[in-house]
Amino acid sequence: MNEQALIQDAQGGSLDAFNTLVLHYQDSVFNTALRILGDEDQAADASQEAFISAFKSISSFRGGSFKGWLMRTVTNACYDELRRQKRRPTTPLEPDARRDDGEEMDSPRWLADPNMTPDQKAEADEVEHAIQHCLNNLPLEFKTVVVMADIQGMDYTEVATSIRVPLGTIKSRLARARLRLRECLQGFAELLPASYRLEEGINIS
């Protein structure tokens, strides 16, 4: 895929060229939205909105990391979604995914990998839920940075350019986000694999 050529074609109005880019980046965009919003349906909606918005404003892309530019678009779409939720809180129509004994049922969507044994699936599911729970408890600006840097694997400069904050702020937010996540994950120590168990007791003054 010649990304640069596709971007230029998309800037010239070619929807086909843009859709090739969409197919290439849609998983990254969706995962970013999913980790920020914590809900698959909302993440899908935000991703779609982000791509529509990206196509409409692609002429403003002046080079650099296209992924970083897309990430900014999707984080903006997520912020819009969160603002919308604040204005109009909704009650889900789906039945509560909890059994009578209060234990949460496994969603089939989380059991996507056919190579995993049921135990592994259950374990991965629990770890993922635990991490998502801790991500959801982070302030939005911390969550955005940690999702981009640690989940999407973007470097500091890319993240700084993407969300338009100074590099020093990115370093600070990422360090604090990691610390908060670490503290939160302590509460799920029994769920985490032995190799991921964290030691207790970091006191930051």
């Binding site: 109005g13 929807l15 843009f18 859709n19 969409v22 197919l23 849609q26 998983d27 965009v29 969706f30 995962n31 999913l34 980790r35 698959e40 899908a44 991703s47 779609q48 791509f51 529509i52 196509f55 409409k56 996507a112 990998d113 991965a124 770890v127 993922e128 991490i131 940690v146 840097a149 640690d150 989940i151 694997g153 470097d155 500091y156 370093k171 600070s172 990422l174 360090a175 604090r176 990691r178 610390l179 996540l181 670490r182 994950l185 985490l192 991921y196 168990r197 964290l198 030691e199 007791g201 970091i202 006191n203 930051i204 003054s205």
Partner: protein, 229 residues
């Protein structure tokens, strides 16, 4: 552990420190077990996040032309037709308005003049009905220009000849009186309903341009959309 050390450890973990800062931190890590422990925890946390399974998008997010409000490219002449349609439609309705105003103004004008001219015409019509020979001479004066052309041939006959032939001509003149009365009424009607300012031919022409141009635009749209697909 202070905030500064936490940021240093986090940046060190990502290889974002300058070589000199890295070397200094590594020296401290060897001698400070708490610092080393925090580094281990941060590394484990980052590792957990990195191992989060990447979800496949639940559907393709490819865009359709409708989603982005994209329209088919239209010929350069398209705006001309759009302008022509808009202008012809505007003028078409404007012509009706103009004619209505024209009629109102004309009726006001004739309303003021009716006291003399209209009354005169009625009087002359009545006198024509009452006295046929009088009509022959008086009608032209009463109705002035319109009646000059409408006056019967007997108006050209000298009065003495007319007197001589009065008895013989009376039935003829009576017939002529009736005709004159009709013509007078027509003349009155013409005065009351003036000619419109914008003729119907123009109005029809404008309507044809507006409708024709709009249909042509629709055709261009459909052809462009079909080619675009």
């Amino acid at each position: 552990m202070n905030q500064r050390d936490l940021e240093l450890l986090s940046a060190y973990l990502d290889g974002q420190l300058k070589p000199s800062d890295s070397a200094r931190l590594e020296t401290r890590l060897k001698t400070d077990p708490q610092l080393a422990s925090v580094l281990t925890d941060l590394r484990a946390t980052r590792s957990l996040l990195r191992k989060l399974p990447a979800r496949k998008a639940p559907r393709n997010f490819t865009l359709t032309r409708k989603m982005v409000g994209q329209n088919p490219p239209l010929p350069r002449a398209y705006p001309i037709f759009r302008f022509a349609t808009a202008l012809a439609t505007l003028l078409f309705f404007f012509s009706f308005g103009l004619n209505t105003v024209g009629r109102q103004m004309a009726s006001q004008t004739s309303g003021f003049g009716m006291g003399g001219g209209g009354g005169g015409a009625e009087e002359s019509a009545q006198s024509l009905a009452a006295d046929a020979p009088m009509v022959a001479t008086e009608a032209p004066a009463a109705t002035e220009a319109p009646l000059e052309g409408l006056a019967p041939a007997s108006t050209l006959v000298p009065p003495d000849v007319a007197d001589a032939a009065r008895t013989a001509e009376t039935p003829v003149l009576k017939t002529g009186d009736a005709a004159n009365a009709d013509e007078l009424n027509q003349a009155q009607n013409e005065v009351q309903s003036p000619v419109p300012w914008i003729s119907s031919a123009w109005q029809i022409g404008l309507a044809v341009i507006a409708v024709g141009s709009a249909l042509f635009m629709l055709l261009i749209h459909q052809i462009s959309a079909r080619r675009w697909k």
